[in-house]
Amino acid sequence: MIATISNTKKNRLPEILEHASGDKRFKILEAHMKKHQFKHDALIEVLHKAQELFGYLEDDLLLFVAYKLKLPPSRVYGVATFYHFFTLKPQGAHTCVVCMGTACYVKGADKVLAAIEQAAKIKAGGTTPDNQLSLMTARCIGACGIAPAVVYDGTVTPRQTPELAVQHVKGWIDHGN
C-alpha cells in the first residue's frame, strides 16, 4: 500500500489538486489546516476533519493532506493507520458500534454482537455488500452505567439485548434481500 502511494505520487499529485479545486470539501479541509497554521502537530486534528467531511480517508485525500502540510506521505499514512478511529475504507450508509468494554462484556455484549453478525451476515469490522450497514466494535464508550450499550448511527442506546439489537438494524439490512 505504501509502495503504491510513493510510486505514483509524482504523476498523481497534479491530478489530485485539480480534482480538489472543484470539490468544496477540500476547501473546507484547507481552511481547517489554515486555522491550525498548517502546523505539523495538527495532523491528527486535520485527519479528524477529513474523515468527518469525506467519511473515510482514501489515498488521494492522504496525499492532499501530506502536500498541504508539507509532510512526507509516509508520515501521514503512518498516523492514519496507527489510530483505530481512522478508516481507509468507505463505510456503509448506517453504522452500528457494539461496545465491548468490560462492563458491557460481562452483561452479554458478546451475545448482542453475535446476534447482529448473524442477522446482517457480516463480521465485526465488515460492511454489508449493499453498503447499507457497517458493523464495528468499540473498546469502551464509557457508558458502563447503561450496559450493554450499542451506538446506532451515532446515537448511544442503552440496555441492549440480542432481540432489541436485531430489531434495530433490521430496517437497514432488509434492503439487500
Partner: protein, 542 residues
Amino acid sequence: MVIDDLNAIAEAERAARKKYTLRCCMAAGCHSSNSVAVKKALEQAVKDAGLEDLVEVRGVGCMRLCCQGPLVQVDPDGTLYEKVRPEDSASLVGTLKGGTTHVQKGDPNSPFFTEQLSIVLANSGYIDPERIESYIAADGYRALHDVLREMTPKEVVDEIIKSGLRGRGGAGFPTGLKWGTVAKTESAQKYVICNADEGDPGAFMDRSVLESDPHSILEGMAIAGYAVGANQGFVYVRAEYPLAISRLQNAIKQAKQRGLLGSGIFESPFTFNIDVRIGAGAFVCGEETALMMSVEGKRGTPRPRPPFPAESGLWGCPTLINNVETFANVAPILRKGADWFASIGTEKSKGTKVFALAGKITNTGLIEVPMGTKLRDIVEKMGGGAPDGAPIKAVQTGGPSGGCIPAEALDTPVDYESLASLGSIMGSGGMIVMDDATRMVDVARFFMEFCMDESCGKCVPCRAGTVQMHSLLEKILNREATAADLQRLEELCQMVRDTSLCGLGQTAPNPVLSTLRFFRSEYEELLKKETAHNGEPRAAIR
C-alpha cells in the same frame, strides 16, 4: 477580571435562584436515556403551569446513579425521581403544587449516596456545566485568584506536597513531587498536560468529571501552570467522548471571555492558555510518553524513560502530566488547605477516590469515597450486591492493567498499597463486579485480547508476547492445553512484565497472573489429562 468582578458574578447567580430547582442529569448515561427531551418537557411543563417565577429547570452533570437514569432531583426537599420520561413532566411539576405523580422515586438517603464523600464530584449534579457563572457561584476560580495574588509558585508546590495528593491515573506518584521537579527544571518553555485519555474499558470517572465540572479541570491546570512556570496547557481527550469534548471546548471559550484564561489573569503577569487535543482511539496513548507523541501529531508510540517528561517532554520541554481527577483535586486543596485534605483517607493514600461501579451490580454508577474504604462496603453496602442476590465472585479493578480481587478479599481497604499487594492496581478507578456466571479464564482472555490489539508494536516482548499469551489462553479455553502450556503461560507473563518498554506491556499479564493466583482451579479444570510418559496427552475432557 478582579476579585470584585468574581464576587459580583457569584452574587448575581445566587440572587437569580428560584424557590424550586429541578436538577436534570445531562451527563452521558442519562443523555443516552433521553434526558435532553426530559429537560425540554420539564421546561415546557413549568411554563404551562405558570410557575416560571418559582421554578428553575437546570441541566446538571452526573448525579451518579446512572442505571436509574434519566434522573431528576427537586430542590430544596431533595426528592429524587428515577427513569423519568418526557411524558411524566406535567405530573412531576404538578407535585410542586401539591399534586401526585407515578414516577419512580429514588432514596437519596440510601447508603449509595450517604456513604459518599465528595471533593472531586462536589459540584457534579449541582452546577450547570455549560455555564461558567454556575461554577463561579460554587466558589469557582477563587483558588486561582488567591494563588496568583497571594502565593509564590514555591508555596503552591509545597501546599500540594503537604496535602499528600497522589496521581489518580493509577500509579499513584506523589503529585507535589512531580510539580516540584518540573518547577525546578530550567527552561524558557514548559507545558502542562491533562491526561483525559481514559482508555480502560469499564471506567468512566474522567468522562463524568469533564462532562459535569469542566471548569474545575481548567482551574486546576492554570494553578499547576503557575506553580511550575508553564504558559500553555493541553487536554488530551478520547475521541469516543464527544459530549466531554464539546463541554470542555465551551468551558475554555467562556473562561477566555471572562479573562480567566489568556494573558494577565486576575491582573497578574501570569499568562495561561489551554488547547484541546482529540485522541483517535489508541489505548497506548494513555501512557505519558506515547500521549506526548500524539499531541505532537505523530504515531502514539512510547519511548524509554528517563528522561522523564518532567525534564524532557513535549517538544523536548519540561512537561507536567497529570490525570483529570488529579487536577480536579487541586482547587479544593488550595481553597480548604492541605491539612484538611491530608486529614481524609489513610496514612499513605490521602483524600478520596472516584470509582465507576459497573458490571453485575444492582447500583451501577459513580461513587466517590475516602481512601481506605473497604471494598465490601463499596460493593455490598453502596452497590447493593449483585442483582437477584447472586453471590459476588470477584471485583476487577484497574482495567487491562489490573487484576481480579476474589470475594474472600473484599475486606481489603481501597488504597494504592493494599490493592498492589493483591496483584491488582488502583488504576484510574474502574470497578467491575463479577458474579458466579463469569468464567475467570474468559475474563483473562478478554483483557489479553485487548492488550494484543492495543499493543503499539514498538517493543518485541509486548508485541509478540501478548499474541503468544492470547493463543495459550485460547488453547486453554478450547480444552486443548496441557500443564506444560500453563507453565509456559506463567513464564511468558513474567518475561513480558519484566522486559516490556512501557506500562501497557509491563501490566498486560496482570489479569492472567491475578486470576491464576486466586482462581487457579478454573484453569486446571480446563487442562487435558496427561499420561505418565513424556507428558503426552491421552484424552481430552470434553
